[in-house]
Symmetry: C2
Subunit: 404 residues, 2 copies
Amino acid sequence: MSITIMKFGGTSVGNLDRIKKAAKIVKSKILKEKQKIIVVVSAMSGVTNNLVKSFNKISYDIDNPEYDVILSTGEQYSSGVMSTVLNSVGIRSRSLQGWQVPILTDNNHSKARINSINSEQIKKLFKSFDALVVAGFQGISRENRITTLGRGGSDTTAVALAIATKSNCCEIFTDVEGIFSSDPRIVKKAKKIKKITYEEILEMSSAGSKVLHPRSVELAMKYGIKIHVRSSFTSKTGTMVVKEEKKLEKEIVTGISSSDYEANISLKGIPDKPGIAGNIFSLLSRANINVDMIVQNITDDGKYASLTFTVPVEDCSRSVKVLKESKIKFKQIKFDKNICKVSIVGVGMKSNVGVAKTMFETLAKKNINIQVISTSEIKISVLINSKEKKVALNALHNAYNLHR
Amino acid sequence: MSITIMKFGGTSVGNLDRIKKAAKIVKSKILKEKQKIIVVVSAMSGVTNNLVKSFNKISYDIDNPEYDVILSTGEQYSSGVMSTVLNSVGIRSRSLQGWQVPILTDNNHSKARINSINSEQIKKLFKSFDALVVAGFQGISRENRITTLGRGGSDTTAVALAIATKSNCCEIFTDVEGIFSSDPRIVKKAKKIKKITYEEILEMSSAGSKVLHPRSVELAMKYGIKIHVRSSFTSKTGTMVVKEEKKLEKEIVTGISSSDYEANISLKGIPDKPGIAGNIFSLLSRANINVDMIVQNITDDGKYASLTFTVPVEDCSRSVKVLKESKIKFKQIKFDKNICKVSIVGVGMKSNVGVAKTMFETLAKKNINIQVISTSEIKISVLINSKEKKVALNALHNAYNLHR
């Protein structure tokens, strides 16, 4: 039995017409390729946001298991609708909620991790059905309570089902044609990437590109699941996410991402004692604030240090408050929300020198000031003023010849 | 452990403010009476209708199990919200979906019947929680699929839970203060009934009063569960539904109901052969049309019969079509949608003569023509022109002194 996973995101199931279009794609795969299909659906676009809003009218405690009870209704609804539409076009189909599969998770409500999926029942059901519509984003804990996997979790549901059913391909349908070398709304010459490695896409996610849930990519990488990111509105081939070995032409730079969702915080006049940076970051970590880029300097006299780091923009005010109310000593605190993180990503960087040099020279030529720099093996990120984002992205896209 | 069941209908959970009001009632019961509470919730008012509409855009086959998957999201949502609100006011609470209780039903999707409820888990959970919020209207079949119990099914969930947990009272909270001697919008002198028997309320339901799901009353009657129908907007005592033995003052007539949801169909010139009425009604039954009042006459020459009966108004056109297209012979078919069924109900009727006489005389005095009459042991129903409903109800209410 050959099983394919087809995951449809929120915009691909955004209304009944789109669900019918998606059902057509599923039907055609069943008829032409004699595949059994696991359809994974997100909630219809906007629904999860509305459910979160209605929960927040009562509580902000997303660790409350009821948050997951409320949120999971979005995917339950879309799975029921998708299956009914498939039935109406003659496909033997039924829906499965997380607890029905079952998709067993830990009990970290609102951000649960999948522990295991029992595929026995799926295989049994495929004797009576050609398509099984699984509600994405949700699972069930050992305590028999509904859990959800965090934003974008339906991608993870899809990949985990691919692993459990030994399906070798997972198609992720979305409203764009694939993964682009940069954001086409900002960089007109941006091109669809044909192949990208797991590592690159992970770095692009952390750099602000929101194509796949990082956890889904980690799982796919670990188990070698091929992911095909494509549009539900055209039949064109999209972007294949593959192992590094399968990507023969290793461009130095594969893509350029940007993120506007960060804020820059600077602390000046910190007594330069061992462990002080550690204290600051453990304080923020306890407050559940995720620190990204970090730069530390020491003043000329060696007595004081200054520290600059970025946090998610929505945590900026809270970070400042937490630091001011703490025992940590500093002379001045400043923050800047008008910043943008620009990142170049590519597995070819590992074996190529001069990549960083090109980046810095290109930005210098455009008179763009770099505030903070951070690097990984296959990524270089810089923090710039958000006004200069468009110029920076286009200049870098040209500098690395990504339009070719 | 003393357990009370409190069921809140759609209008009582119609918005967040009302849910907060309901939660306050639950909290007060827990604190003042040291009770453990099973809160049963309906979907927020309007939600189920919208879900049905969205399903009907794809299919009218409500036997499709996906219908239940879609509809049950309404109660899942309200149970999650209710439990979160209870948590926010300091009550240890969690939600339970039908499959989590579990409430086992047969697999008649969209109109399932409860087979059994395992109360072991509920008792165990009450060690950690003071309120368990059960999503009404839903259960789970042996095939592990979500089922729903039909419109008004949350009442049945509540009574079934009362039976399973040996709770001796089931409070049904609604938007009216109880059950009235007649519809207060039509009969100004209508009075709240203090006590009513199961049999009376069943007859009133079939006569058009929509207070309790008939199946819930049947179950309560069978197991002797006291039902208290009351308003979630006041703390006044409502109406107690009890065994006949507990109702000492047996009024001859307890209440007067009316139903506008019926149509009258007349067939004339039917060859008077044995079995012909049976043929007609089995034909309609196969078409899933529920026939209510029936009158048959034979013409003077004994060759032809005429048959008059009522069907739900929404099935009228279909009934006519089914009959016209059938092999059944008749000379003429007529229908009338401007009719109203008026019923007087009371256990005291059994032992009192003259009840029917009063009814007919009262209507005659008002010049109201009776088209069809049907009776049961504790009910007399007449069909009249719908224009005369208000006059009829008020005149009968006076005639039986129901305002005293």
